[in-house]
Symmetry: C2
Subunit: 182 residues, 2 copies
């Protein structure tokens, strides 16, 4: 149910997907879906939240791990792109459609987004403090660059390309780290 919703929301957008579309995809009447969900928006929240959790789970693990900051940053970017490609639909909905949530659930997601951004910054700050990264590096911009590279993945990645998500992540990380390292 949530997975079918992720596919449709990602392909057609939340507002572009009707309960009819969802019912067709599941072989059910659109009214029958309400035996399983409370509302269409609740379904959107489930998809968006699962996307957020996928990203966060890996990032928290990397932040807590014991490694050089540059290794953590590479792992984070690789993990981000692996997550974005492995759960392409949920990631797309998480990044694109979360703004259509009403205020209360949107705040829940916003908190998770903020936390993710904070993790990226913390790792970069670690690197600056340990003199792995340039002392004059602008942490905010470096973090934004990392997030931009990762978050835009959904827009161009298609399964079956010549490079694996892992390799893509490593290439990105190499470029970014080269600009960041002392």
């Amino acid at each position: 149910m949530v997975s079918a919703a992720a596919t449709l929301f990602s392909a057609r957008g939340y507002h572009g997907t009707s309960m009819q579309h969802l019912g067709d995809a599941l072989g059910l009447q659109r009214g029958s879906l309400y035996a399983h969900i409370g509302s269409k928006e609740e379904l959107l929240f489930d998809v968006v939240d699962s996307g957020a959790n996928h990203f966060l789970a890996r990032a928290e693990g990397i932040l807590a791990s014991d490694a050089f900051a540059r290794v953590k940053l590479e792992r984070l970017l690789v993990g981000h792109i692996e997550t974005a490609t492995l759960h392409l639909d949920a990631a797309t909905v998480f990044l694109n459609e979360w703004r259509y949530l009403s205020e209360e659930p949107r705040r829940v997601i916003q908190t998770k987004r903020d936390r993710y951004e904070q993790i990226v910054r913390l790792i970069i700050e670690e690197g600056v403090a340990a003199r792995e990264f340039r002392g004059d590096a602008d942490v905010r911009f470096a973090a934004t660059l990392v997030l931009s590279a990762g978050n835009w993945t959904y827009a161009w990645y298609r399964p079956g390309g010549e490079l694996s998500p892992t390799e893509i992540g490593k290439k990105f990380a190499e470029l970014v780290l080269r600009g960041l390292e002392a």
Copy 2:
């Protein structure tokens, strides 16, 4: 008309914006809008196309100009972010809602997107050929990184921040160039 549509489409999404919303914003009955447009989708195309043209116009000028590749690349990224922030609504719709166009108009936009991507790659290839950039630089990934940094701008930029779009662009360019230069 197009500008009001850009504002609404960017804030609510194409499918989340009704002709009623547009009429309200313009102080007109929703039926009256059809004296000015052929269809809602035609309106979407106008917004998306104007966004595409803003980006392309600057990029073509930079590509044709006479300068070091690293200068061109910086100008392109700065110009990209200036354009994205100056025309924030049109840029958001261009990047987010273009996929809701039906096949024929979408192909027109796709062509412009492809051309823009090609320009970025051409500039990087120039830099590699002139030995300004590392010989082993992966042109595709460097171009994707530049585009990601620029295209994600709409997602976080809000007017009135402490740094001007120009300064933001320069900071990004500095990071990327540092990773790219020989």
